[in-house]
């Protein structure tokens, strides 16, 4: 019954179904991604810029443009300047610690040993748990009275006696003392990003051909020299990506500070995202909130550019 389909003889046979038309299919397949980006990233971004140039509040969200007034006000605010400093401090310090620790963990996980799967599982755990739940766990670790950390310190005799190294008081009040509160936030951020960074580092390390390390060994390089001249340069691109991802996650994170300290004591742990939230949502000043959050944009844009460049470099090597 069927005759061989000649081009043009029957429109159905020559043009095929929708899955045969590559142009249409491509547009169709990419549409969800484009829609998502426009709706979830593009629109809020434009809205944030509009709000930052207006005098909108949660009570009166209509947009009347007032120029750059909000940015000037934010810069003049000492809490904002503290939040700006803290954001950089938390991010850079926590991510530097993460790079070192994740390298050590990844090196350990490269070697075969008994119970390796369990260690891997435990290392990955913080990444799989919701940030808010994990942080609530830490809230208990830092509790002013029942802190297990303080308990261990007391048990070791480092706290709570007249001659103790850390002082005679029974508790350190982690979240109540400015320096310790900052350290607490950094520790939780390290704990949170470490799993991802370890996995990325592990990937980077195991992608170095074994031959190269052996060649360096035969070429007379000491273990230090092998690390400095071979392993670190070869894993640099992928480690940079881990570092930049960590920066994005920490830089934009609100939950850790919100759950642990709510920016306290006296704004000492305030950061851009938390200050945005407190100012813009809780205090209702949408315009100020939008202006504060937009200060994150140049940093994040820069990081994004670096990530893309690094990604291209790893492709080449």
């Amino acid at each position: 019954m069927t005759s061989p389909a000649r081009p043009g003889s029957s429109p159905g046979a020559s043009r095929g179904g929708i899955f045969d038309r590559q142009e249409t299919l491509a547009k169709l397949l990419i549409a969800p991604a484009v829609l998502y980006i426009v709706a979830m990233i593009g629109a809020p971004f434009v809205l944030a810029i509009l709000y930052s140039l207006s005098d909108a509040t949660t009570g009166e969200p209509s947009i009347h443009l007032v120029g750059l007034r909000n940015f000037g006000a934010a810069l003049a605010d000492p809490v904002f300047r503290l939040a700006l400093r803290n954001t950089f401090l938390f991010t850079l310090l926590s991510q530097s610690i993460v790079i070192v620790l994740s390298r050590i963990l990844a090196n350990a996980l490269l070697k075969p040993f008994r119970g390796k799967w369990l260690v891997r599982f435990l290392i990955m755990l913080p990444w799989t748990a919701p940030i808010s739940l994990g942080t609530i766990g830490w809230l208990w670790m830092y509790d002013s009275i029942f802190s297990p950390i303080d308990w261990v310190l007391r048990y070791l005799g480092m706290l709570g006696t007249a001659t103790a190294l850390l002082g005679p008081q029974t508790n350190l009040y982690w979240l109540g003392v400015p320096g310790l509160a900052i350290a607490s936030v950094i520790i939780v951020n390290v704990w949170r990003i470490l799993p991802l960074a370890t996995v990325i580092q592990l990937g980077g390390l195991s992608s170095i051909p074994k031959d190269l390390i052996e060649a360096a060994e035969v070429d007379g390089a000491s273990p230090w020299r092998r690390t400095l001249m071979i392993t670190i340069p070869l894993t640099l691109p992928i480690v940079s990506i881990a570092f930049l991802f960590g920066i994005v996650f920490t830089f934009t994170d609100l939950i850790v500070v919100y759950v642990l300290t709510r920016g306290g004591p006296v704004h000492m742990t305030q950061e851009l995202s938390s200050w945005t939230f407190f100012k813009g949502i809780e205090a209702g000043d949408l315009a100020q909130g939008a202006a504060i959050s937009l200060f994150m944009f140049p940093v994040l844009a820069l990081v994004a550019i670096f990530i893309l460049r690094m990604a291209r470099r790893t492709e080449v090597v």
Partner: protein, 343 residues
Amino acid sequence: MGCVEIRGISKLFGNVPAVDQIDLATNEGEFLVLLGPSGCGKTTLLRMIAGIEIPTAGEIAIDGRVVTDLPPRMRNIAMVFQSYALYPHMTVYKNIAFPLRARGVDEGTVRKKVEWAAGMFKIGRLLDRKPRELSGGERQRVALARAMVREPSVFLLDEPLSNLDALLRTSAREELRQFQRRVGVTTIYVTHDQVEAMGLGDRIAVMSQGKVRQVGSPMDIYMYPADTFVATFVGSPPMNLLEQEDVLLGFRPETFMPSDAVEGSEGVITYPFEVTYLEYLGAERLVYGNVGEKSHGRHVVARLPGSLTLPLEAGKTYPFAIARRDLRRFDRKSGLALPGETA
């Protein structure tokens, strides 16, 4: 300088012996080839000499000094890997300089030596390039230059030609051999390619299943194989093995000729050869067929030079002959060569 002695070396991976009680020694300045099929332990043996792999038992000495427990960098050896293992983030110059800098040689000397090594392998114009910008042949030269620049007492090569295309491989083989003669460094070369082994080696150690089956000059290995493994592994096509009572009769395909082409009849055995298949290869003809009446163990190959234009046809039987001096006898059970010629 430059003698490697291996005494009773074994290497177990789990319970599997990769290298099984090997004794082997190089002569000074010699080119020794470890030849064997993949998985025979030749690379493991080389890696133990380099110090990358730690032997389960036995002892390795270089220049009379026991190095079994020393790390690679204290053995004064150089190694070229199958993959070349060039450092991808370094230029050719830095790659070649790496072993020198690792030894703390001053920069002036480094420059002089790198230029010397690069000149020797004609890669002087490539010094500023990265390995990924080089062709396979150039990478191989860089790897050789990096190995030679420190003037090692022993030079180890792990299938360094296997990543080159066939044409390049032949010229690289010739260059490698000439270069080794010139420098005179004791060289241990691992390969599974018998042509490389025959062409390069002063001596060949044929390995199988973790053991050395035979050590000897290429001619010894080819003419007087120690057992049926060596007989059938070396030579292409391999030595014919003909079952005859309780021995295996071995003869090389090129010694099996139409009787008309064999001069005289003294010391010659003639067989009726039933031709089943012919291959014309230009310089030579391969003739496959059966000898004698028995049902198995009688399939043999004859290799006739291209100059012998005698017409042969599949399905017909021709008288073929072998000179007695070309016959080898092997024990049927152990496969070991038996002394003397057959009756």
